[in-house]
Amino acid sequence: MHRILKKDILAENIKLMEVDAPLVSRRCQPGQFVMIRLHEKGERIPLTIADFNRKNKTITLIFQEVGKSTEEMGFLKEGDSILDVIGPLGLATERKKEEKKVICIAGGVGAAPLFPELRHIKELGNYTVTVLGARSKDLLIWEDELKRYSDEFYITTDDGTEGSEGFVSQKLEELLNDASPDDYAYVLAIGPVPMMRATADTTRPYKLPTFVSLNTIMVDGTGMCGSCRVTVDGKVKFACVDGPEFNGHLVDWNELSARQIRYVPQEKEACEHFHRQLEELGIKPE
């Protein structure tokens, strides 16, 4: 059992939890994730480790309530426990000090998995240019945290309520045009699949290396089932053990997008079932 030591609401349907997880916090590296199972009947879901504290033996998870499991998790309070927190899983990303600047792009809740990567990249001595985007200003999360590790920091919102109006990919295009794409070593983009895809499409003509972190559907997270399989450069890879980070220019985005929605009917049924149960118990959502 893993106790929830801290809980914050970062935005509508986006919550933060600091969780007691000594076996994960001792060795986890930026880029790695955990599998969470709330209780005996729960499903296993992957969440990227947004932060970790080796001394306190905790990890920080940030999640968006997109379905039954994340909604249910959102009801847990400080002092409650999560049954299983398994990790650290996935390949730790290898970074170094680059000659050129590094662009980091976060879309919505992607700011959470981007944070430990950005911090690591900055601590290696890199010049970091960060773009944080969301649909609207109320959905921007961890602005201060990301800003702290950024030499240049830009915000975009789809509706223009903060920063520049538009998508992160539009801001990226601007940056590449204003300066020269040769000024940059690579781009790291983490966020919803369409956003990462748009980023890769933006940098492709400039041949600027672009890395993305894929949040595929997973079951075990240790490479034994293939639920998370994605085609990269024509070969089948497992996001849980070959990733989750991949070369954005080589990902088969059409296939990935189709595979991400393969359980939508069941997800809907699970949510309806859950809401009926809540109604019967007289519980209202937060």
């Binding site: 076996l23 595979r259 699970a270």
Partner: protein, 454 residues
């Protein structure tokens, strides 16, 4: 062997085989002629004293029977259900020459079930502790057996399991209708009562490294991590929605209880026309699971002929009774999807058998131009698994074969790293539960000699 009626059982997950009654068991046991030189024991990968336990059943001394069984085999309820006795002990039974062999497997299951359900499993005596720690990686059949044997010798044994539940393939791979989870729980409980500590959710290689285990004072390590990497055919369309590896399909259903969705949260999707590619026990388990999840048409697609099907005859028979259609000498060429990325059909072609290949089985050869389309909305690829490479990737010095299996000394079970032993599917590639158990026994002996010989 009494069984559930096929029409009834194809829509439930209850165990198909209902087990011998006491009367039937005793009568069957009395058939054994107690050969002076029993051939059956040679056929058993864990060397059970078969005539010994059968004699006790014949004498209605069930308590002694299970005692003799458990001398060599800590997991008899499991073996009694999934061992292919028909190719092992029963194949050597002399009665089988003119008549039917003694139903050794049924009797093994009977006595194990009797202990659990009727007499209550006796708590074993704890062996005198040697004060030495050993680590087992993987709580599957190989690991559980190795752990049990070492605990009986007095070692302080810890099993580290990557999943949140024990049993390995027993739990995630074999469906409830062949291997009820309650049986696995009872057998694992017995191993725990021998003094073995089992820690789940720990992935050796990621949570701890093997070096760290040695630093923590473990004298030897056994790797029973299994062949958990699913094989795909790498044909066009294989990543379309609705196409699963057998591992994913069975793990969702068995380990995560997808058949009880939405009471349990993990979903599993099965349409009306299901096809499983493959002919082994995993393929049979997969197609019979698909039937139970609502498939109206259920196909086995296998590239060789019926005679070559690797699955147990019993399971092929059960599948046919339940209405599975066998398309043998058939191989998929590609999958066809709809505009939303879901599989809607597959193109297959017919095969004919040529000369034997490396495995000794006749090589399947495509018949040019014999292609045709089968409508499918669910496909399970059950063509075998390879060793899970995770541990090998992060451990230097561990010699492997070109297929990724770990190389071991056959006599001791030791790998190229001193003090590190291995057994089961991670060494042989996908094989049977009982072979994994046999390997666990060999390694336990090897580890004991290694530790005491130092």
């Amino acid at each position: 062997m009494p069984e559930q009626d096929p029409i009834v059982r194809r829509s439930n997950f209850d165990e198909v085989a209902l087990g011998f009654s006491e009367e039937t068991a005793v009568i069957e046991a009395q058939r054994c002629i107690l050969c002076k030189k029993p051939q059956c024991i040679d056929g058993c990968p864990v060397g059970i004293d078969i005539p010994g336990f059968i004699k006790k059943i014949a004498e209605k001394d069930f308590e002694s029977a299970i005692g003799i069984m458990k001398d060599q085999n800590s997991l008899p309820a499991i073996c009694g259900r999934v061992c292919p006795q028909e190719t092992q002990c029963e194949a050597k039974c002399v009665l089988g020459i003119k008549d039917k062999p003694v139903a050794i497997g049924r009797l093994e299951r009977f006595i194990a079930d009797w202990e659990r359900d009727v007499s209550g499993i006796k708590s074993p005596e704890r062996a005198k502790q040697l004060g030495k720690k050993v680590a087992i990686v993987g709580a599957g059949p190989a690991g559980l057996t190795c752990a049990g044997d070492l605990a009986k010798k007095g070692y302080d044994v810890t099993i580290f399991e990557a999943l949140h539940a024990t049993g390995g393939v027993l739990r995630y791979g074999i469906p409830e209708f062949r291997m009820p989870n309650t049986i696995i729980d009872a057998e694992v409980d017995y191993v725990k009562q021998l003094g073995v500590d089992i820690q789940c959710n720990i992935i050796i290689g990621l949570t701890f490294t093997m070096d760290e285990l040695f630093e923590q004072g473990y004298k030897a390590i056994f790797l029973g991590t299994g062949a958990g990497l699913p094989n795909f055919m790498n044909i066009p369309g294989e990543s379309l929605n609705g196409i699963y590896s057998a591992n994913e399909f069975l793990t969702r259903n068995n380990l995560m209880r997808g058949y009880l969705f939405p009471e349990y949260d993990t979903p599993i999707g099965v349409g009306k026309n299901a096809a499983v590619i493959g002919g082994g026990n995993v393929a049979m388990d997969s197609i019979r699971t698909a039937l139970r999840l609502g498939a109206e048409k259920a196909y086995i697609i296998y590239r060789r002929s019926e005679v070559e099907l690797p699955a147990r005859i019993e399971e092929i028979h059960h599948a046919k009774e339940e209405g599975v259609i066998f398309r043998i000498l058939t191989n998929p060429v590609r999958y066809i999807g709809d505009e939303n990325g879901w599989v809607k059909a597959m193109e297959v072609l017919e095969m004919k058998l040529g000369e034997p290949d490396d495995s000794g089985r006749r090589r399947p050869l495509p018949i040019e131009g014999s292609n045709y389309i089968i409508e499918v909305d669910t496909v399970v690829v059950a063509i075998g698994t390879s060793p899970n490479p995770l541990l090998m990737r992060v451990t230097s010095g561990l010699e492997t074969s070109r297929w990724g299996t770990i190389n071991i000394d056959e006599k001791t079970g030791m790998t190229s790293i001193p003090g590190v032993f291995a057994g089961g599917d991670i060494v042989t590639g996908a094989a049977t539960v009982i072979e994994a158990m046999g390997a666990g026994k060999i390694a336990a002996r090897g580890m004991h000699e290694y530790i005491t010989g130092k």
